[in-house]
Symmetry: C2
Subunit: 398 residues, 2 copies
């Protein structure tokens, strides 16, 4: 009962959802799919047509006074701007209203420079994309930003981010107010990655666990087909699951950048791998250096990578035991050492988790690679912009 | 988009949902809440009335040829039978069609006797409840059984249950076919407990984690208001999250009854507590004995209970990091040592999990106590029986 929403009359927003998920529809299609009367369908469609959210389409387009018979979502009514912000770089895109990327670029940044310089760089890049697409800020229907840290999804504030110094409680949507007159959606990067991989690669999967193994380690979850963020937007904090219980083992667990000790990330995160490689006499500065060294086959580096895979595998096994997903997707920079990492991950998951949870489980590397966050954020933004109540607002504005 | 289902015309099953969640409704209420036309509402209501799923109600009941104006769900059209099967005992109830318990009893059993003796005992108890309520098997609209082991929810089969010897792949619904002509729903006990606590005590919470700390340890999850079972029904296997990583610590982790070593349950389950108390020279046979001894204040027993609380707290902290629930409810026999257990649980959760995930988190003991599974299973069964497609079947049978 709680799980099945009550049937309610379909408003213009609900009717628009039909057009967003199907190429074209007739009035009769809309009647059949909503159960609305002909006069209500005409009313809904008139509202969507006069707001240019829906347009006549295809061979039924009006000629010589004959009314149009087929209609489609107007994905070129405006554009969406999206930025996928990482620790040391960002990807920016201009998308149509379906969330499909039309123009894209990337550039280096340092997220630790703080919000003002980073968001200024984002805005400069946005303006350049708009100019090259022949658009102006008034065409922007929504802005989507994803960041490498926890986000209070309702307010769009970054909360206690370990690697984003100066961003704590920063109100990203407020920064864009005045610059653009549109909604601003902020999410955690790994949630966007989960959506990107889910919609583009595994659309029929209901439960998907996305692991980001980069400098840090995090998880995004698709549950019953939608992003799961938890009660406060903090879900998926897999990097700080504790591995060694010092009460029991007495060993000295490595200190994590979150302030605790023995976290998964403190053993298997990219930064920990860099630390351990240096301790072992290999001189590496960045996670990319570490990945490159491991790919050369250096024996010590490979041994450390396999160890990281097993530790990450412990955390993934815990998550599989708890969540029982159908698919686990591993992305992030460390997915570049797939061979070394995946052996350890699979070993641990199949050893530790209940047979019922693993018999149909698939563990795969990212398909979209470094673009999964950008692609997913654009799709999340499109969904958010065209959520039913916002559609009513768009119509009322006309 | 994936998260927002398309609007569709409300069938008789959807209309019945309105009656199940509200005391009484008029035809106008149904029109307003569904957007259906008057003639369609009349048609839906006639079908529900002639199937006696809905009845005239209250002051608007028909008198002197005036048609009824108010209608209500007919919760006494038949009864539901529910059994909450534990390792050493079971609770059985006869409920109305809202899933409200009307007659209840409990008795000792040994689940390890295997399915045939246990289900025979369930059936004998069901027949006694039916007789005392003046009902017969034809009045039974549904049977709900919950068991202390993993269940493949779609088929109702128990799968690889560690403590239910002889039950692996046993088809519980098939056992009842021939004895009763009604749907049989089988679920894992902790899922039923989660539903019981959620609906009865925390109805407005969207994300709830139910921990069963008994002989074994398990978790049930309410996600976005509904039970989350995972892709194969294996979600919530918190008892076999691994605590000590022998690769790292070199300590000898205790062997678990699942066949692995170092599981949460192998340290903090009731059976492990019994084992450790005996090793420490205290003679206890059952988990109840252990709980009773801890409540006497025996220093060694209290020390072991606090240790169990901290270990359980590690696993709960991991789950909180991953799921970010609003409420954690702890039930099962070990909730009887709340004072000793909760200190350790709270210590670990607040130390380990992200501040964003714990700032609004509540950790509470079960309110329904040993009845949470029974109460929840009855509610789950009522929802399942009156899911829209089944309502169509009930109507077609008339």
């Amino acid at each position: 009962m709680t799980a099945s929403p009550l049937a309610v009359a379909a408003g213009p927003g609900d009717v628009l959802q039909l057009f967003r998920t199907q190429p074209t529809l007739t009035r009769a299609d809309v009647m059949a799919q909503t159960g609305l009367s002909r006069s209500t369908v005409n009313q809904r469609l008139d509202a969507l047509l006069s707001a240019a959210l829906v347009v006549p389409s295809g061979e039924g387009a009006p000629t010589g006074g004959r009314p149009a018979s087929r209609f489609a979502f107007n994905s070129d009514r405006g554009v969406l701007l999206v930025a996928d912000i990482g620790a040391t770089g960002m990807r920016i895109a201009l998308c149509n209203l379906r969330g499909e990327v039309r123009h894209e670029r990337d550039q280096d940044i340092d997220v630790a420079d703080g919000p003002s310089p980073v968001l200024t760089a984002v805005d400069v890049a946005f303006r350049a994309l708009l100019a090259s697409a022949g658009c102006d800020p008034a065409d922007v229907h929504g802005i989507g930003i994803d960041v490498p840290g926890p986000v209070d999804f309702d307010s769009g504030q970054v909360v206690s981010p370990p690697i984003m110094s100066g961003w704590d409680r920063y109100d990203i949507p407020a920064w864009f107010t005045g610059r653009y007159d549109c909604p601003v959606l902020v999410d955690k990067d790994v949630n966007a990655m989960a959506v990107g991989e889910h919609r583009s690669v595994h659309p029929h999967v209901r439960q998907l666990l996305m692991i980001k193994a980069g400098t840090g380690i995090g998880a995004g979850m698709i549950i019953d087909g939608g992003v799961y963020r938890g009660a406060d937007g903090a879900a998926g904090d897999i990097g700080h699951i504790q591995l060694s219980v010092s009460d029991l083992s007495g060993t000295d667990a490595p200190v994590c950048r979150c302030g605790n000790a023995g976290c998964v990330e403190a053993y298997a995160g990219g930064w920990a791998l860099v630390r351990d490689l240096n301790s072992a006499g290999r001189s590496v500065r960045t996670v990319s250096d570490a990945v490159a060294l491991i790919r050369t086959g250096d024996v010590t580096a490979v041994r450390l990578a396999r160890r990281a895979g097993r530790i990450l595998g412990h955390a993934i096994a815990d998550s599989v035991s708890l969540l029982n997903p159908s698919v686990v997707v591993v992305g992030g920079q460390l997915a570049g050492i797939e061979e070394q990492l995946f052996a350890g991950i699979r070993e641990m998951v199949y050893r530790r988790s209940l047979p019922l949870a693993t018999r149909k489980l698939t563990i795969v590397a990212t398909t979209l690679g470094p673009r999964s966050g950008l692609v997913g954020m654009a799709l999340l933004l499109a969904d958010s912009i065209f959520a039913a109540p916002r559609v009513e607002t768009l119509i009322a504005r006309q």
